[in-house]
């Protein structure tokens, strides 16, 4: 079976130990969670977890059933292959020199990144984009000497209201 990336979103009770149960569903079956985002929803008793994992194509179906069994999981949504908007955020800090300053600033403009902080020889930028684009941007800046990089996991919403 082909290995592909899956994006799953869960609504869960906002309580201690819940994340650990969810992580257990993945780890006990040998799956690795590649990215993970957790935050409260508009209802403070409910959190949304968005996670991605690489696995065989029938993975989501199997893992979804296991997650559905957890008492603290309210709902499980599979974003894999569905028309959705996905975004992750990345912060990059770069060392600036006389030679590279111009090109870096131009690229930041072209890619639509935002400069968060800048001094004579130092720059921090922020990028919010889908995973492919953040990866491409990181690849572009790497030759300039990335001092530090940090990024969130993906979050997602459907493009249009789904049929019930």
């Amino acid at each position: 079976m082909a290995i592909e990336e899956h994006t799953i979103s869960l609504l869960v009770n906002n309580q201690p130990g819940v994340l650990s149960r969810i992580a257990g569903v993945f780890s006990s079956r040998g799956y690795n969670i590649r990215s993970l985002c957790v935050a409260e929803t508009t209802n403070p008793e409910i959190s949304r977890i968005t996670l991605t994992s690489k696995a065989e194509s029938d993975f989501t179906e199997k893992i979804k059933k296991q997650l559905d069994k957890l008492v603290d999981v309210v709902s499980v949504t599979d974003f894999t292959g569905a028309p959705s908007v996905q975004r992750e955020m990345m912060l990059i800090s770069l060392r600036l020199t006389e030679e590279n300053r111009k090109e870096i600033l131009r690229a930041i403009d072209v890619f639509g990144c935002r400069v968060i902080a800048m001094s004579e020889d130092y720059l921090i930028m922020e990028i919010t984009a889908n995973k492919d684009k953040t990866a491409a941007i990181l690849r572009y800046f790497e030759p300039f000497g990335v001092e530090e990089m940090n990024r969130t996991g993906a979050i997602a919403v459907f493009r249009q209201k789904r049929d019930e």
């Binding site: 130990g17 650990s20 149960r21 257990g24 296991q66 559905d68 957890l70 008492v71």
Partner: protein, 552 residues
């Protein structure tokens, strides 16, 4: 007097129909043990927390009610782990209550502090850490609800000592919301019925879920009407009486050759409450290659977990069978039934003793000497296979064994729970010397409470099944499996206050068995068998269900 947390625990347990707790106290459970003096709930003091969990498990298996065990924090709680895992693997409804250190000590590595919720997460359906005395009743009620519904299983409730001691108000039960029962997806049942009606060589596969779903009567009716032969998993044994003419036996590594052969040749399998573990299917790619599969299970994650399923149905087995029954058209399948008859005859001639040798003959004699409604509890290893292949079940809750987890040491404590839960039935343990050692201290519990449990220890001085595997597949190098013959188990039993005798199985054990069955109280029979007595046929690792071997 205003009640404390412990009173609420006991009151809620009573409300949930609990009459017995199997436990072992510690400093942190004491508020609860103290209040038991005023409760009608009986507490059985076991000699090890692991045994408390197995006893609760045995109680649940014998009665169908939720079993309850209680242990203190730290080592008490961790000692429950094997018992909880055993219950989880066989879907036994159980509530395990553990006391925790005072809540102001959490995370400080206090004396006897352990994160039992974290430790048991993969082996419980759910768990509750009680953080407020006012949550005790609601959490416990939810625990019982979870343990006893859907795919049943163990739930753990961890309660800090300060919350057990805290004054708190009554916590009355809210009226439960009525949950209308209805069958969804009826068309899928119709498709299953059509496929079964069309099939030429159908086999029904009965798993442990048929008993757990209390659907044994419906199952028998269904078989009678459909006139379809059935096989079981090891956990499914007893769902339908062994003597039913359509019974082919149980499938898998140590199963009956007839069952393995016929499911392999079948063109349609109707599986109920079975998850197709590798112990049942052997090499999965070669399992029943000609069959389409219909699977009925209450747990959606069991469907298609191990085999490809053509007709899935998620739901209650009892209701599913009731809905299926009128859709079944009985038809003649003479060629199929004739093939089964011929094979059965050939196999019976080939394997005259059922593959269980002297031990099988011993077990037949024991069953003959005991009342019809006796509950037999097997341990794990050769003794288990000898028992499940030999014992003729008449009713569903009469053969208890640790199937999924294969826990040695299960039998003696589980028998205690079974006897406490079913005081009108005789209880016989059949275990090996290896498993007997693992919870031998429970003879003290049997003795202290005068429980008339008959314990048969089939002693071959070895870990017999390990020895057989070494003999067959490790060039007969018998490393690390010799238990020796220096221990006089009858003297040990007598030391615990249990009358005992030793008998050689190759001589006639009938009189010894008669003395055991006539004993009013507990009895231990040490039955000596030769170390080269194995169980055959067996499926070698990496082989399919039709590659059973009958010797070296």
């Amino acid at each position: 007097m205003e009640p404390i947390g412990a009173d609420i625990v006991l009151k809620t347990l009573l409300e949930e129909g609990v009459d017995v707790i199997f436990g072992y106290p510690g400093a942190n459970t004491l508020p609860l043990n103290d209040r038991m003096a005023d409760s009608t709930i009986r507490h059985y003091l076991m000699r090890h927390e692991q045994a408390a969990a197995h006893a609760a498990d045995g109680y649940a298996r014998a009665t169908g009610k939720v079993g309850v065990c209680l242990a203190t924090s730290g080592p008490g709680a961790t000692n429950l782990v094997t018992g909880i895992a055993t219950a989880y693997m066989d879907s036994t409804p159980m509530v395990a209550i553990t006391a925790q250190v005072n809540s102001d000590l959490w995370g400080r590595d206090a004396f006897q502090e352990t994160d039992i919720i974290g430790i048991t997460m993969p082996i419980t359906k759910h768990s509750f850490m009680i953080r407020d005395a006012n949550q005790i009743a609601s959490s416990l009620r939810q625990a019982f609800q979870l343990a006893s519904t859907g795919r049943t299983g163990p739930v753990l409730v961890d309660i800090p000592k300060d919350i057990l001691s805290a004054r708190c108000g009554e916590q009355p039960k809210k009226a439960p919301k009525a949950q209308p029962k209805r069958i969804e997806n009826r068309e899928q049942l119709e498709r299953i019925a059509q496929a079964l009606n069309r099939s030429e060589r159908p086999v029904i596969l009965i798993g442990g879920g048929v008993k757990l779903g209390d659907a044994c009567t419906q199952m028998s009716e269904f078989i009678q009407k459909a006139q379809v032969p059935f096989v079981t998993t090891m956990m499914g044994i007893g769902s339908v009486a062994s003597a039913n003419g359509f019974n082919l036996g149980f499938i898998g590594t140590h199963g009956n050759e007839l069952a393995n052969r016929m499911i392999h040749q079948s063109d349609f399998i109707l599986a109920l409450g079975a998850r197709f573990t590798e112990r049942s299917t052997s090499v999965i790619d070669e399992f029943a290659p000609l069959a389409t599969v219909a699977q009925i299970d209450i747990d959606p994650t069991s469907i298609g977990k191990n085999v490809k399923v053509d007709f899935p149905f998620v739901g209650d087995i009892q209701e599913a069978l009731a809905a299926l029954l009128p859709l079944i058209v009985p038809r003649e399948r003479n060629a199929w039934l004739e093939r089964i008859r011929t094979d059965r005859q050939t196999l019976e001639e080939k394997l005259t003793d059922g593959g269980c040798g002297q031990a099988g003959s011993l077990i037949r004699k024991i069953q003959a000497a005991m009342p019809r409604e006796t509950i037999v509890v097997s341990d794990v290893g050769l003794n288990q296979i000898w028992t499940v292949r030999t014992w003729q079940t008449h009713s569903p809750r009469s053969l208890l064994t640790s199937g999924g987890m294969g826990t040695m040491g299960f039998s003696v404590p589980a028998a205690i729970g079974a006897r406490v839960g079913a005081p009108d039935r005789e209880v016989v343990v059949i275990c090996g010397d290896g498993g007997f050692y693992m919870n031998i201290q429970e003879l003290a519990t049997i003795s202290a409470y005068g429980l008339p449990i008959k314990v048969v220890v089939i002693n071959n001085g070895h870990l017999g099944m390990i020895r057989q595997i070494q003999d067959l597949f490790y060039d007969a190098r018998f490393t690390t499996s010799d238990l020796g013959d220096r221990v006089d188990l009858t003297a040990v039993a007598k030391g615990f206050g249990v009358p005992a005798e030793r008998v050689a199985v190759d001589e006639d054990p009938t009189e010894a068995i008669a003395r055991m069955s006539a004993a009013a109280g507990p009895y231990m029979l040490e039955a000596m068998v030769d170390q080269n007595q194995y169980v055959y046929p067996i499926i070698p690792p990496g082989c399919s269900n039709v590659e059973m071997i009958c010797g070296k």
